[in-house]
Amino acid sequence: MSSDDHHHGDHDHSELSETELRVRALETILTEKGYVDPAALDAIIQAYETKIGPRNGAQVVARAWIDPAFKQALLEDATRAVSTLGHVSRVGDHLVAVENTPKRHNMVVCTLCSCYPWEMLGLPPVWYKAAPYRSRAVKDPRGVLADFGVTLPTETEIRVWDSTAETRFLVLPMRPEGTEGWSEQQLAGLVTRDSMIGTGFAKTPGAPS
């Protein structure tokens, strides 16, 4: 159950069943009218389950950490740079990568709906789509970060990117200390989803995850 469901509708079992029935009826209608092939719908779900997810973004970040030329290309035109990595799935236009540094922390939100770089990070988590994050990220990002247990130095500049158009933003988190000489694959294992949204940091070697 999603967190917003706990406080509002949809928590009653009979209501849930009603939603399920409604969804099934709609799919029956769309299928019978010849609009969709249900097997094609199954295939989209399977593709979401197997082809997209934060590991795509993590590979991009790890490459940027070890390859300065790639990092520069990524910050200049992320769509083009990512498309040169054959092992990452196709990426849409207008992907923008923004770099976290000791001086500046970037954080991404969509206050109007829930725009999110699906191809890089997978489907967004419930909290990203829910009112508390969407309402507060642009006004009180330090308070939001505290909800994640994250504290930034008081002097760090914060930049919040509100995804109000068809541009999509990927945060390039800072490379953790103590990872000198690590392979790209080892580094990718430290890159969390939240670190690429800007609500967390990359994992530190040896720290509990």
Binding site: D10, I29, R90, V91, L123, A130, R159, A165
Partner: protein
């Protein structure tokens, strides 16, 4: 439209509650709603801006009380009925009671799956030169269209600086109401927190929106 979907800066929604090891879907039906939306959009029944507009148009109390995929379901049903792809008799029967309406790109089949996994293309040729360039000071217009717009309320009337130029894109305000793509220049505009939230705002904070040229005026 000035709806409850436009949440930036609102108070009272409480803490953000991350869920450890969150599953991709919490209920099986959520996945079905997601893919019906994607498939019908890809088949040409509606564009992404219309689908957003229909969710925004849900009654505020319904929008706030519904989970993300429930909103998708309600918006999708309304959209398909308004566009004539399903009719009340279909819904009442739970089956196709009336004849189908032709889809712009035809039935959604396995051949179309690859296409929906990549985002659509929204960049367009420029019909006219850009009015603004990075470094320009601009004011977000004090505008309140009753239909879909992507200019959040918290930015309206405030002065920021153009930081990036993203070229010309499909204009959601037009596309949402089937009034054509009407391509417009798109810019990242950055605001100081104090400009948006007053003197008590976090002095280290800046906020950007991506704003279409009709949302902006020179200062």
């Amino acid at each position: 439209m000035n709806g409850v979907h436009d949440m930036g800066g609102m108070d009272g929604f409480g803490k953000v509650k991350p869920e450890p090891n969150e599953p991709m879907f919490h209920q099986e039906w959520e996945a079905r709603v997601l893919v019906m939306m994607r498939a019908m959009g890809a088949a040409g029944a509606f564009n992404i801006d219309a689908s957003r507009f229909y969710q925004e148009s849900l009654p505020p109390e319904v929008y706030l009380a519904s989970s993300y995929y429930k909103r998708w379901l309600l918006g999708l049903e309304d959209l398909l009925i308004d566009k004539g792809f399903i009719v009340a008799a279909d819904v009442a029967a739970g089956h196709a009671a009336e004849r189908a309406k032709p889809l712009k790109r035809g039935k959604f089949t396995l051949d179309d799956v690859e296409r929906v996994m990549a985002r659509g293309k929204f960049g367009r040729d420029a019909p006219k030169p850009a009015k603004f360039k990075p470094g320009d000071r601009v004011r977000a217009r004090n505008m309140h269209p009753a239909t879909h717009t992507r200019l959040p309320r918290y930015a309206r009337g405030h002065v920021g600086v153009v930081e990036r130029d993203h070229g010309c894109h499909v204009f959601p305000d037009s596309a949402a109401t089937d009034s054509g793509e009407n391509p417009q220049w798109l810019y990242t505009v950055v605001f100081d927190a104090a400009e948006l939230w007053g003197p008590d705002a976090d002095p280290t904070l800046r906020i950007s929106i991506d704003a279409f040229e009709p949302y902006l005026e020179a200062v």
